[in-house]
Symmetry: C2
Subunit: 360 residues, 2 copies
DNA sequence: TTCAGAAAATGAAGCGATTCAAATACCCTA
DNA sequence: TAGGGTATTTGAATCGCTTCATTTTCTGAA
């Protein structure tokens, strides 16, 4: 804009330079930035002009040092490549964006050592607060008393009990939802395919499955076959089918996540079985692929956006009114999405008629 | 460990407190942290002890303020939910982790306004440097002269010309690779299905496809059908097939990404055609699903890990030896992964024999 | 025992912004 | 035109840490 605009690219401009340029004191510059109402409109214009000419950007480190709250929040997840966490991350980001905050995304990779390193790093950065998907294998929520006291933390996808704020999704309810749906359709012999039960989520989903059977008056011990595979991918699902085929085939299969379900699907097809005619199939997570799978997959949808959003709000709340904050635990309910893999009456959707051009 | 350990959770401990506790000066504490060799072993032990007792964590803001380089690097991507960028992010993180750096992941969502807001925010944070996947639609690399001069930037998945460091993948080569493969298999009438050509990557891949045909002595105008669809998902691929079926069916189809290829697959199957018997199919990106698709998909693999790794190295290099840094452009080559969707001789892999247990 | 030189420890001066008590400028009334 | 009150502006002190010129302590040779 101005002839001096390119000077912005010179060495870092500090508040003193702006003050000198506008011929006012540093205090006035600071005020026009942080308390514009305190400075005379004429002066304000002058200073704003100078700021623009010089391309001044206040040093955030210095600001925070003098007591301002940081505009950074930390987000520690177990896996940056997981659609679940990235969905949540995105939701978090969207909901704090308007408050001028940015998210510092960190990856603990499920390792406690790395996790605590990250936490103290975030504390050292004096971030505004942290959203943490804990790497703790079981409900050792008490472990987290070691967190830096003055670091507001909200637990993500984990119920923190009374000692922490947290937002989680009810996995037991999700498991129950899936199995109840299958029971409603008239299936009775059901298999649950899940990852290692030492993974909290899978154990809870299995528990929900059992509970739903019991509620329906069936004996889970007898009617529910539980298969645990070591991994969580498509191939593991295929493997699970092989294990299942060694016994009596169940009428329906509920998988701990969608990838396993896809694998199960392939395994069934390879064995000459049809979904849902011969076996009904339910996944978990409702990832993008579920609705576009060869046979669209019935799945349990996690309220990911809500999860991220609520966590962010909780953190903002937690980190602003520093006095008298009561920890709150939000537990969200998952949702059943019925598709063809359990119900042949659901019509396959035709592709939309969106635009497209061909050049021959 | 010590009886005073829990005091760490008290209010924030500063270097003065440590100094008082260990009965030394602040300078000495600082030295034992940053230049241990300058302080007497005996004293050092004392101070380290005190640091531990008090749970002292130096305020990073203050450190940076006094001139230390930050241990944070920024990473600005176009989409936090894209496996491509998250793969790269993960690689970046892994390769800087050992240097004690953390990554601040930001999402420009492809919007230039947001992008520049993020950049000046990162500059204000005084991060060590930034890896940027630019939101600029075309090669307007010159636009980036506006970047804060003292902010080292490495462009990601974008060739920055001589004015910037950059690491990118050769999309033209990728397109050529795919089409050459199809030509080698004896196919001649080929279709390219891509997203809007205004997306740099897709335009380049299409160019590569054309070039490969020309190199083989075929006229792209005549033998290559180009289909552009508006979206990039499975449904869009299905739509593309409908468009293609209005004309003569090509012998092979090359898609600008794997999702489109999956859609094309479904479209073909719906039309009663087999892959690869009736039509050969090639995707792009080699996402996880490609190798596990009903018919494993031949695809062009992007060297994502390498991309992230090299970018990180370039940035570290760029941001350390501040003097005399020459901008380097790294261009990586994509790789062809042949699977059944183009070559029926490739045996479908059997699922592994990994562990699994059944409880009946 | 003394003393030069090396080693270790000290503590005041910044880093860049914000704050706030104190100093000025401005306005209006008497 | 003086006086009192409000509106602005000023600039030194401060945040927590690092640096570095000094001071103090230690070594070992003379």
């Amino acid at each position: 804009m101005s002839k001096a605009a390119d000077s912005s690219a010179r060495a870092s401009v500090k508040i003193r330079d702006v003050a000198a340029f506008a011929d006012v004191s540093t205090g006035t510059v600071s005020n026009t930035i942080n308390h514009p109402e305190r400075v005379h409109p004429r002066t304000r214009l002058l200073v704003e002009q100078a700021i623009r000419e010089l391309g001044f950007v206040p040093n955030q480190q210095a600001r925070v040092l003098t007591g301002a709250v940081s505009n950074v929040i930390g987000l520690v997840v177990l896996d940056v490549e997981s659609p679940f966490y990235m969905g949540a991350a995105h939701a978090v980001e969207r909901s704090v964006r308007d408050s001028g905050l940015v998210v510092m995304l960190c990856n603990s990779e499920g390792e406690i050592v790395r996790e605590s390193a990250l936490l103290s790093m975030l504390a050292a950065q004096h971030v505004r607060g942290v959203l943490l998907a804990p790497a703790t294998p079981e409900e050792h929520a008490d472990r987290y008393v070691n967190l830096p006291q003055d670091l507001p933390v909200v637990l993500l996808d984990f119920d923190g009990g009374a000692t922490h704020c947290s937002v989680s999704v009810d996995n037991v309810a999700g498991g129950a939802l899936a199995v109840r749906h299958l029971l409603d359709l008239g299936h009775q012999r059901i298999a649950y395919v899940g990852g290692s039960l030492s993974l909290r989520q899978f154990a809870q989903r299995a528990a929900g499955a059992r509970q739903a059977m019991a509620d329906a008056g069936l004996d889970p011990e007898e009617m529910l076959t539980e298969v645990s595979v070591s991994g969580l991918g498509i191939r593991d699902g295929q493997r699970a089918v092989e294990l299942l085929l060694e016994g009596t085939l169940p009428e329906a299969i509920f998988c701990g996540n969608d990838m396993l379900a896809f694998g199960v699907y392939r395994g069934l097809v390879n064995a000459g079985l049809r979904v849902p005619e011969d076996v009904a199939l339910v996944g978990y997570d409702d990832i993008d692929f579920a609705k576009n799978w060869v046979v669209p997959l019935t799945s349990i949808r996690q309220p990911i956006d809500d999860l991220g959003h609520q966590a962010a709000q909780l953190l903002l709340d937690h980190s602003s009114r520093d006095s008298s904050h009561v920890h709150r635990q939000v537990i969200l309910k998952p949702e059943l999405v019925v598709r063809r893999s359990t119900d042949r009456r659901v019509e396959p959707r035709r592709p939309g008629s969106a635009g497209g051009t061909v050049k021959r």
